[in-house]
Subunit: 328 residues, 2 copies
C-alpha cells in the first residue's frame, strides 16, 4: 500500500495518470479506518485543483442497450478530445454476484481508449456507502482532469435518486415501446430526467423509436416547468448507439442545457445544495456508525439492550440513559 | 398540568382509572421536553406493576368493516369480563385531517362500555414518533390493568410492519372477494398475519365470504411453516361483526395461539426482541434528533454546511470535523 499514500498518489492523479486514479478509487472504496483517513487526506490534497467535470447521471433498465450506448457515446466524446470517466452505482451488485460494468469486455473499445477510464461498481450492500464512495470517486476523476464523468445506474430502487443527487444532468435511456404505451416510467423518475434518449432508433425499430420519442415528449410536456430549465427542456430524442446516430446531437443538447444552467447560476447552486446535503448525510451516517463500531459504545448498547430484553428497564428509559452516556 | 404529574397519575392509573389513563397517554404523546421527562418518570413508576395484556394488532383496508368489527369484538370481550383498550396507528391522520377512530360515534356502544377504553391516533407525521407513543400507550394500558390491547392500523404503507413489531398477535381483517381473486394482499403482510378474518360472512355475502376463507386458507398453507406457530396456524376464519357471528371462535383461536406461544417461550422471546429493537431505534432517533434540536450543534452544522456549499471544504472532510466536534 506504500504506493497508495496520499503524498505519492496526489501528484500522479493530478497529472491524469489512470493507474493512480484506479488506486485512489480503491482507497476511497476501502472500509478500513486507516484507508479512510488516507482517503480523506488525498481528497483534501486534490480538492485544491479546483477542476470540475460535467457530471452526467445515466439510468436505464437492462435491455435498453446501456453498455453499447456508453461505449459509443464515450468514443464520440474521446474523438472530440474530451476525457471521459465512467462510474457505476449498482446497489444490487453484491447480491447478483456480478456488478454492472464488472465485465469490461462489454465496452472493449472504450476501455482501451487512452481518453477513457471505466470503473465498475464497488461490491456494497449499503446504499449510503456506495453513495459516499461514488461521490469521492467523482472528485478524484475531476482532479485527474476528466471533462465528463458519466455515472451509470440500473433502473431499480433508490439508486436513481441517489445518482440524481450527485450529478449536473440526469439522462434516461429507454428502448422503443410497443404501440403507444409508455414503459411504466415512474413519475418520480420522469421528473428527475433532463433528457430522455430512446435508443435503437435504427432498422426495423426506427418507426417504433420515433413514436416512443413523441410519446415521451408529450409526457414531459405535461410536467411542471422547472426554473432551472431553458425553453424546450426536458427533451426526448432518438439515438442509435449501434448505428452511431444521434449521439452528437444528444451531447449538444447536454452542453446547451449545462451551459444555460451554468450561466444562470443553477449549476453552482445545485452543486452547493448537493454538497450540503451530502455533508449532512455523512454526519448522520457517521453518528450511527459509531453506535455499531465503537467497542465501548457497542458494549454499553449490548448491556443496556440486555436489561431491556430481560424486562428490567423500559426501552425509552434505557435509550434515555444511553443518550446521556453518549452526550458525556 | 398539576393533575398530570407522574406522582398524581401513577396510583390512579394502577387502579384502572380511565381518565387518568387518558391523561397519561396525552402526556406520552406530547412533544414538549418537560412532558417527555414526566412521561418517562411515569412509565418507570408503573412499569413495576409487571402487568401484561394480550397485545393484538389489527389491520384492514377501509371498507372491510373494521369499526363494526372492533365494536362487536370489544363488546364480546367485555361481556366475558375482560377489559379491552383500543389504540390506533394511522400515520396518515395528519394529512387526511381526520384520524381513524377519531370519530368515537363509530363505536358508540363500545366507547360507553366501562370495560373499554378507546383512544384515537395522535396527529403525527413522523412514523417513528407515532411508534414510540403507541408503545408507551400500550404500557400505560397494561399498567391500568387492561387484559387486551387492540392496536388498529390502516392497511397502507409501513404502519402494519410497525404495529406487527409491537404486538403478540397480528390479525388481518378482510372483505369477501369477488370470484377467486385474492385481494392483492402483499406477501409481506400475509407473512405477518397470524389470523385472517373474513368479515361480512352473513346474508348474501356469506357464500363469497366462505370461498374467500378457503382461498386465504390455501394461500396461507403455501407459506413456510414458522416455528412459533402450533399446527394449523396461521388460519383463515369467517366472521360477521354485524350478525355477531364467529367472534367468540376468533377469540378462542387467538388465545389458543397466544397460550401455545407463551407455554413454548415464543411470546416472551418475541417481546424481548421487540423491546431491544425499540431501544436501539430510540437511541438512533435520539442521536439524530440532537443534530436537529441542540442549538449549539445546529449552529455548528449550519456553519460547516455553509463552507461546504461554498466549496471551501469537501463534504467528507467537513463531516469528519463535525463528528470530531460531536465526540468531544
Amino acid at each position: 500500500m506504500s504506493n497508495r499514500t496520499p503524498a505519492d498518489l496526489a501528484p500522479k492523479l493530478l497529472e491524469g495518470d489512470r493507474r493512480a486514479l484506479a488506486r485512489a478509487i480503491t482507497l476511497v472504496e476501502s472500509g478500513r479506518a486507516d484507508h479512510r483517513a488516507q482517503a480523506g487526506e488525498l481528497l483534501e490534497m486534490v480538492a485544491q485543483s479546483g477542476r470540475q467535470a460535467l457530471r452526467i447521471g445515466l439510468s436505464g433498465t437492462p435491455g435498453v442497450g446501456k453498455s453499447t450506448f456508453i461505449e459509443a457515446f464515450g468514443l464520440m466524446l474521446s474523438a472530440q478530445g474530451l476525457k471521459v470517466a465512467v462510474l457505476a452505482v449498482d446497489p444490487s451488485s453484491s447480491r447478483s454476484g456480478g456488478s454492472i460494468l464488472g465485465d469490461k469486455t462489454r465496452m472493449e473499445r472504450l476501455s482501451r481508449d487512452p481518453n477513457a477510464f471505466i470503473r465498475p461498481s464497488p461490491s456494497q450492500t449499503h446504499l449510503g456507502g456506495v453513495a459516499r464512495r461514488t461521490r469521492e470517486a467523482v472528485s478524484l476523476c475531476e482532479a485527474a482532469n476528466f471533462d465528463v464523468v458519466l455515472i451509470e445506474t440500473v433502473g431499480v430502487g433508490q439508486s436513481e435518486t441517489l445518482v440524481a443527487e450527485m450529478v449536473d444532468l440526469f439522462v434516461l435511456l429507454m428502448a422503443p415501446a410497443g404501440g403507444d404505451e409508455l414503459q411504466g416510467v415512474k413519475r418520480g423518475i420522469m421528473e428527475m430526467a433532463d433528457l430522455i434518449l430512446v435508443n435503437k432508433a435504427d432498422g426495423d425499430l426506427k418507426p417504433a423509436a420515433m413514436r416512443t420519442v413523441a410519446d415521451y415528449a408529450g409526457a414531459l410536456h405535461l410536467l411542471r416547468k422547472r426554473p432551472q430549465d431553458p425553453k424546450g427542456f426536458p427533451k426526448a430524442l432518438p439515438v442509435s448507439a449501434l448505428a452511431d446516430e444521434g449521439l452528437l446531437k444528444a451531447w449538444e443538447e447536454m452542453t446547451t442545457l449545462a451551459d444555460w444552467r451554468r450561466e444562470n447560476g443553477y449549476l453552482e447552486r445545485r452543486r452547493a445544495e448537493q454538497a450540503r446535503h451530502w455533508f449532512e448525510a455523512e454526519v448522520r451516517e457517521g453518528l450511527l456508525a459509531r453506535l455499531r463500531n465503537d467497542p465501548a459504545i457497542r458494549a454499553q448498547m449490548e448491556s443496556l439492550g440486555a436489561t431491556v430484553a430481560a424486562g428490567e428497564s423500559a426501552p425509552s428509559a434505557a435509550a434515555a440513559k444511553m443518550l446521556d452516556l453518549l452526550r458525556n
